[in-house]
Every structure is written in structure tokens, then in C-alpha cells.
């Protein structure tokens, strides 16, 4: 019985109808890639670059596949291990990013197979790309990994620049505009690289359309986030992790935009009618950063047992806070719009960071703003054995939340490829104890006059 119940709980019960429909976009992505392959269109392996590189590639008719995602897929169907072993055999240290090792091992298999997809490749494999799109944002793996693929694939690699100033430095007079200008110049180079590689010109009108649509989609995705401040929470992380696919990967798709309108309506309706995502919401928690994809049912379980709602989560997957209007005034160059968009993603919480005197503005500062606005009782930290940026600042975030707001955090280990690291039983007992901690700090916050 117990075993059966557990099995059922692997995938989570989404609380939004729209979230249940979001799987469509995952399938659509796959179909797009297949179609591109049939039509003989160029493909690229790409990092998630927060729209910096993807939109331009799309406008050039390049179909993108994301080896980070594919790594998650391989792990979930337990097909990553032979790749990891292969990567180990090649001499890559086993402390490197799990998705990277999965991909490097796979590329080695491809190299053994004349650069064709090996017959037994999980999920149909990744076809040999026309080029690789790497990014300097977030972690070193995201460009070193693709550079290392040169050993097998012999295709060009383009590395996108994304400046990472400190918070204080961001506010130095003129620096932000220098940052933007730098991104724009690099995007121009990137366009030239693509035109040269693909032997065709970029259709600037098409790019503008794509950018336009992306801004709209992200705007409404952000508005959904705002609705989630309501108490009780109208939706939870289990929903978000489904609905994020369209805005993260297909924001230029009008269907994604239409979809978000419906998400918005559904969430709005629940807020207006005080319909809670989970019955008996008692504790409001934030979650950082990547969830244990294969055990999402765990979060339904803690909702049921303890009344824990994950009210906001995963900074790196969220739509950006909108760019101030005056900043966009008169800006029509799509490259500049893209530059401002991605840069905003990485600096959108710098004001908060400055206010509290913390660094960095990315990964951690959003949680400071959220803690207050979403009235969070605690932070669920999920450090990953083999993803650096999702883990680097977790302890720091927890410390600062305690310092500034008396919001406690609980740390439960996991991993992106070795799914066994996340131990459900242990996690339950930690959460159980943590509930008392949250009670305690509620009192402390009250005494200190904090508003929640």
C-alpha cells in the first residue's frame, strides 16, 4: 500500500487547470525540433541564455535544443549513467556539472558513431548541431562545457557575453549603459557570425516581431507572479514548474502568450474568490533553486501533511520584473531590446540588493524581496551535488534572510543526475522539524515588528 501510494505521488498534482495543459509546450518543442530536422534546417545546441541568444537564432531559422534539459531527461529515465561513465573514462573530473558530463559522454558516443545519433540514445538523442551556443552567464560550465565538446564535434562555438557587475558597481554612474552597449556590440558580432555560418541574412523584421512577442509573453508571466502574493496562495511551485516552459523556451510563440492569458485569468479568478491552491495553507515557503524533478509529489505530500504552500520559487526560471518604461523609450533596435531584457533578468533585483547591502543581485536578492512581498515563513534550500550556481549562494541566502527578516531556511540535499541523493524519508523528517522552526520565527518576527 505504502509503496503504491508513493509511486503515485512521483508526479505532482497541479492545482491549476492551465498547468495541467502546459505539457503541450514541451511536446511542441520536441515536434519543432523534429520538423526542423526533417526540413534540413540548421540546429544548435544551446544553453538557456535567458533569451539573449535564442531569439536571434530563431529569427535565423535555427532550431535550438538544450543539453541541460536533455540531461534532466536522461537522468529521469535513468539513462544518464552510461554517459557519466563515458565522460569519466575520457578524463573529465567527476565533480563537474552532471548535465555537462552526461552530454560529454554522449558526444563521445556520437564520435564513435560517425557523429550520427547512436541507435540507443535516450529520447531520440541530440542530433549533431550546426554550431554550439554557449553563455558566460551563471556558471563556467556553460562555456567550458561547450568548448570541451570541440574534442568530439568539431563545430563552431559562439560564446555570448553577459556582464556580471557587483551591486555597488552596477549603480556607478554610466556603468549600466556601458554594460548594455557591450552586450549590443557582442550581439552584433553574434549576428555576423550566424550570417556567415548559415550563408544568409538576418530578417530584422522577423526578429522585431519575435522580440515584441517575447516582451508581451514575459510581461504577462510576470503579472501572474504578482497575483501569487495573495493569501492564501492561488497557485504553488508545482504549478509553476509546468507553466514556466512556454515563457522560458517559447516566449516568441503567440500560443505561449495566449496560454499565459488563460493562466492569468485562472489565477486571478482564484485570487478574487479566495480559492486556495492547497487546503489549510498554514506555512508559506519559498523554494530555491532547481527542484527534484522526479519527486515533485513530495511537495503535495508536505502540503497535505503540514499545510505548506510553496508560494514562490526558482528565481532563475522566472520572467523578469518589467523594464522601467523610460528605459525603453525610443528604443527600437531589437538587439538593444534583447540586451536590455537579458540584462534586466540578471540585474532586476539589484535595487533590493542595494537596499539591504548585499551581493549578488542575481540568484539571491529576489528572495529578499519575495520574502517580504509573499509573506514567506521559510526558505526551502535544495543544494545540488553537481550544479554549481543553483548551490553557490544558498547558504548565503539563508543567512541573509535570517539576518534581515528572521525567516529560517531548511536545507535538503539533492542532485540533477543522481536522483537518489534526494532522500524522501529524511526530507520528511527535516520538514517536520522545520515546521516548528517556522512557528518559532513567526513569533520572533512579531516581536520585532516585522509585518508578517
Amino acid at each position: 500500500m505504502e509503496a503504491e501510494r508513493k509511486k503515485k505521488k512521483r508526479t505532482s498534482a497541479k492545482t491549476l487547470q492551465t498547468a495541467r495543459e502546459a505539457g503541450y509546450f514541451g511536446k511542441k518543442m520536441l515536434q519543432n525540433a523534429l520538423k526542423a530536422r526533417e526540413e534540413g534546417r540548421p540546429t544548435a545546441w544551446s544553453m538557456v541564455t535567458w533569451w539573449e541568444g535564442e531569439l536571434i537564432a530563431k529569427a535565423m531559422g535555427v532550431e535550438l535544443v538544450f543539453p541541460e534539459n536533455w540531461g534532466a531527461f536522461c537522468a529521469s529515465v535513468r539513462a544518464a549513467e552510461p554517459h557519466l561513465d563515458r565522460s569519466h573514462g575520457e578524463g573529465f573530473p567527476s565533480t563537474l556539472c552532471g548535465y555537462a558530463r552526461n552530454c560529454l559522454g554522449y558526444a563521445r558516443n556520437m564520435a564513435d558513431n560517425n557523429l550520427e545519433v547512436p541507435p540507443d540514445a535516450p529520447g531520440g538523442g541530440l542530433a549533431r548541431p550546426t554550431f554550439l551556443l554557449s553563455s558566460g552567464a551563471a556558471c563556467d560550465a556553460r562555456y567550458k562545457w561547450f568548448q570541451a565538446l570541440g574534442r568530439y564535434l568539431e563545430v563552431p562555438v559562439w560564446t555570448l557575453e553577459l556582464p556580471h557587475t557587483g551591486v555597488k558597481e552596477y549603480f556607478l554612474p554610466g556603468n549600466k549603459e556601458h554594460n548594455i552597449r557591450f552586450i549590443v556590440s557582442e550581439l552584433k558580432e553574434y549576428v555576423a557570425f550566424l550570417e556567415n555560418l548559415l550563408g544568409k541574412k538576418l530578417d530584422w523584421d522577423r526578429l522585431s516581431e519575435i522580440v515584441d512577442q517575447t516582451f508581451k509573453t514575459l510581461r504577462i508571466a510576470y503579472e501572474v507572479d504578482l497575483l501569487r502574493k495573495a493569501v492564501p496562495s492561488p497557485m504553488v511551485a508545482q504549478d509553476f514548474w509546468s507553466i514556466m516552459i512556454p515563457h522560458l523556451y517559447l516566449p516568441d510563440d503567440p500560443e505561449a502568450y495566449e496560454f499565459y492569458k488563460r493562466v492569468y485569468d485562472e489565477v486571478k479568478y482564484k485570487v478574487d474568490n479566495k480559492i486556495a491552491a492547497i487546503p489549510n495553507e498554514k506555512y508559506r515557503m519559498m523554494f530555491s533553486e532547481l527542484p527534484p524533478w522526479h519527486t515533485l509529489g513530495f511537495f503535495d505530500e508536505i502540503a497535505e501533511r503540514y499545510g505548506i504552500a510553496l508560494v514562490i520559487e526558482s528565481w532563475s526560471y522566472h520572467a523578469i520584473p518589467p523594464i522601467p518604461e523610460e528605459e525603453l523609450e525610443g528604443v527600437t533596435d531589437p538587439l538593444e531590446l534583447i540586451a536590455r531584457l537579458t540584462y534586466r533578468m540578471w540585474t532586476g533585483y539589484n535595487e533590493t540588493a542595494l537596499e539591504y547591502g548585499v551581493d549578488p543581485g542575481f540568484f539571491m536578492s529576489a528572495y529578499l524581496k519575495w520574502a517580504k512581498e509573499y509573506r514567506a515563513d521559510g526558505l526551502f534550500c535544495h543544494p545540488l551535488m553537481s550544479c554549481r550556481p543553483a548551490t553557490y549562494t544558498l547558504l548565503h541566502t539563508g543567512n541573509v534572510l535570517m539576518d534581515k527578516f528572521k525567516v529560517p531556511s531548511v536545507v535538503i540535499d539533492g542532485d540533477i543526475v543522481d536522483l537518489r541523493v534526494f532522500n524522501e524519508e529524511e526530507a520528511f523528517s527535516k520538514v517536520e522539524a522545520f515546521v516548528e522552526t517556522m512557528d518559532h520565527y513567526r513569533e520572533v518576527r512579531k516581536k520585532e515588528g516585522l509585518p508578517w
Partner: protein, 288 residues
């Protein structure tokens, strides 16, 4: 002339005494942590067995984890070189050696009797004798038997090879799911073989391959490794002594390089004393 090789491993100490062309005697003793420093006693035992006196040994080479401060050794050589040399004596055509010891596992490449490359596992017990002990304990079977048991499997269980702790958990889980011990053990052996294979693959596995070390006494592991490699491997008659034998062979080689007089003075100065270990005294570099 008599040449001695002394291999102080983490769990077993071995001694080989040989003449110019044959193995004269060998001794193998499990040595727990406290017993390791008693290697001189073991040497006495070997001498007794060989009917020799300490003074009759012309050259002594120490190898293995405990080689550093053996006061009665003339020289130390790493176990990596010694395994290479020992195997080379048995099988001159071998290019790749896989040594599965008690606490670590090594891959060694040989070319014309010369060490060309090697890898060692670090920090991870998977693929070592220790790992097999943990698993057999968890499953409640004798470690000497697990290899044979695994051979009876018809449908090896799928067990990941990533980590000792998890493999143990998984083994127990499978057991609770009703999978037979044979199948679990076969799965475990496969997992270890994969792990070892991918490590040794770092130096490129080439035919002919020799397997040595205590781990090879396990027929199940041997079979799984051969399957993974894709062709049969050779195994020396007594896989435990290849390191000590190699050391004795090096002893023989070094004697040829020093003159008689020096050899005699050296022999006089040698004392059959207890071994000291890391942190117990000043560490000494390689002498000679």
C-alpha cells in the same frame, strides 16, 4: 643470491623471496591496522619458511601503502611499478593491468616491460575489496562466496554503479522487492566492473589485459570485467603476490647496478626492525 620483495598493503602484507630465476618462497598475511608495523615479524616467518637468515638476503625492496619507512629495506618502489613488473614476469605480452586491491583500484599501462601510464581511483570505495565486503555484509553472505553466487544469476538486477552507499541501499531495496540474491550480486558485479572499466579506460585499455590483486579471486567480478572489456583477460597463479614479486624483481635488477663492496656494507647496516608510519616519524624521500 636472494632477493626479497615486501608489499605492505592496506589490508594484507605479502613477501616474496626469489633467486635469480625462481620464486623461492612467498608469505601472505592479512594485517589489520595495528599489525602492519609488525612486518619485520612476517619477514622472520618468511625467512624461516625459506630456511634463510636475514643476512642472506642480498637486496630488499619495500612496496605498497606502508613502504615508506621500512627500516630494513634497501629501497622503496611504488606498488604501481611493482605490479607492472610482477605481471610482466608472468605475462610479457600484457599491455594493460587492472589491479583490484583492498582499498584502491589501479589501471596500469605497460610497454616492453616499462611503466607508461597509470590511474588510481580516488576516495571512492566502489571497485575495491572494501566495497565487496560492505555489500556482502549487507546481504548477509560471505564475501568469499559472492562471486560464485553471482554466476548463478540468469537475470542480473539493474544496480547503479555510482556510489557505495547508494549501491548498498539499492541492493537492499531490490532484495525487499523480491529479487534473488544471485541476480542482485550479478548486478552489483556488473556495476563495479563498469566503474572499474571507465576508470581504466582513461588510459586506454589495450590487449592483452591482466587482472590482479585480491579482487580477482572473486570469479563473479572477473567474469563481469571480462564481459565489459569484451575479451578474456589473463590472471596470474597467485594474484595477491604480484606486487611483492615485482619488488623482488626490482631488487634483483638493482643489485646488478651497485658494486659488491657497497652491497656488503649495506647488508651489514640493515636491521630487521618495526615499520613506522606516516606521522610517526620524519618522512623520507626516495633513497638512492
Amino acid at each position: 643470491m636472494f632477493f626479497a620483495g615486501l608489499d605492505i598493503g592496506s589490508t594484507i602484507t605479502k613477501i616474496v623471496i626469489k633467486t635469480e630465476d625462481e620464486i623461492w618462497t612467498s608469505v601472505i598475511r592479512p594485517t589489520g591496522a595495528e599489525h602492519r608495523r609488525l612486518a619485520h615479524k612476517l619477514m622472520e616467518e618468511a625467512l624461516q619458511k625459506a630456511n634463510l637468515t636475514f643476512g642472506q638476503l642480498d637486496y630488499i625492496i619495500a612496496t605498497g601503502y606502508g613502504r615508506i619507512n621500512v627500516p630494513f629495506a634497501d629501497r622503496q618502489v611504488t606498488e604501481i611499478s611493482c605490479h607492472m613488473r610482477g605481471i610482466n614476469w608472468f605475462f610479457p605480452g600484457v599491455k594493460t593491468i587492472i589491479d583490484i586491491g583492498g582499498q584502491d583500484c589501479k589501471g596500469i599501462k605497460v610497454n616492453n616491460g616499462k611503466l607508461v601510464n597509470f590511474v588510481m581511483n580516488d576516495k571512492c570505495a566502489a571497485g575495491t575489496g572494501r566495497f565487496l565486503e560492505v555489500i556482502s555484509e549487507a546481504l548477509g553472505v560471505k564475501v568469499e562466496e559472492i562471486g560464485d553466487i553471482s554466476l548463478r544469476s540468469t537475470n542480473p538486477a539493474k544496480i547503479s554503479s555510482l556510489c557505495t552507499v547508494f549501491a548498498e541501499q539499492e541492493a537492499l531495496l531490490r532484495l525487499s522487492e523480491g529479487v534473488s540474491i544471485e541476480d542482485i550480486l550479478a548486478g552489483i558485479h556488473r556495476g563495479i566492473a563498469t566503474r572499474i572499466y571507465s576508470m581504466v579506460e582513461r588510459i586506454n585499455i589495450e590487449k592483452e589485459v591482466a587482472l590482479t590483486g585480491g579482487g580477482v579471486k572473486n570469479v563473479g567480478l572477473r567474469k563481469a570485467l571480462e564481459e565489459r572489456i569484451g575479451f578474456p583477460a589473463v590472471v596470474p597463479p597467485e594474484p595477491l603476490i604480484t606486487g611483492a614479486l615485482g619488488a623482488a624483481l626490482f631488487a634483483q635488477e638493482y643489485v646488478g647496478r651497485i658494486d659488491k663492496k657497497e652491497l656488503e656494507t649495506r647488508k651489514k647496516e640493515r636491521r630487521l626492525e618495526a615499520v613506522t608510519f606516516f606521522g610517526e616519524g620524519p618522512t623520507r624521500g626516495q633513497n638512492g
